[in-house]
Amino acid sequence: MKKRYWRCFVCNDIHYGIAPPELCPTCKVLNAYVEITAEEARKVLGGGPDSPMGKKDFREAIARFTAGNEFEVNPDGEKVDLLLSGVFENEKNHGFKFCPCRLRTKNWDEDLKLVCPCNFTIHETYKGVPNGECWCGLFVRRK
């Protein structure tokens, strides 16, 4: 199923998926999404205020992301520092926060799977592994 773009006609939230959300998560209006083009979506998103995110902000964002999950950011701060350096280098040089421990193939869909945080919960280094971690070790199973 191909993903498409959707815009909330009330608050202009943008959704990218195979179907629109029934309830807009921002304005809570029901059945508010209309399909738009990729170009329209880019215009809406590109016209918003800049929201620069430095390494510290990203570190805080991924810590919030892990709260309530069965995994957490690796307590090894030195390792996290090195990985985040790579993530930001990759964003600067290659456009996305790609995992520093894998290489993009230049296939768009495949490469999106390498953007940090990736869905490591399905990977053999994490799934069903008691002390599992993502391939790079940025995320580890919470003890």
Binding site: L83, G86, V87, N93, H94, P100, C101, R104, T105, C136
Partner: protein, 92 residues
């Protein structure tokens, strides 16, 4: 025998493996051609050219560190101890 090591400058597993590879090179006649892939596009393209050999052995992805024997068309990826690296590299 042609042994390659693909690694990333900011990959902690690679950082751990590089000294082991150097130790193996000191102790044996084995030599690895070490290629950094995130800051050198030629090296990245070289790694991509071996996708069909590497991916089946590495979670269907291009992961680093990856060790590749271009003659036997065998690959191994991730952090391993010196013995395992030696055994893998010595396989004809």
């Amino acid at each position: 025998m042609a042994l390659l090591m693909f690694y990333g400058r900011e990959c902690p597993h690679c950082k751990k493996m590089l000294p082991l590879v150097e130790k193996l090179e000191q102790d044996t006649s084995l030599r690895f051609d070490k290629r950094e892939v995130w800051h050198d596009e030629k090296n990245a393209d070289l790694m991509r050219s071996y996708l069909e050999i590497i991916a089946p052995k590495c979670g269907h992805q291009l992961r680093v560190p990856t060790f590749l024997n271009t003659e036997t068309k065998d690959a191994m990826c991730g952090e391993v101890d010196l013995e395992k690296l030696k055994d893998w590299a010595a396989k004809a």
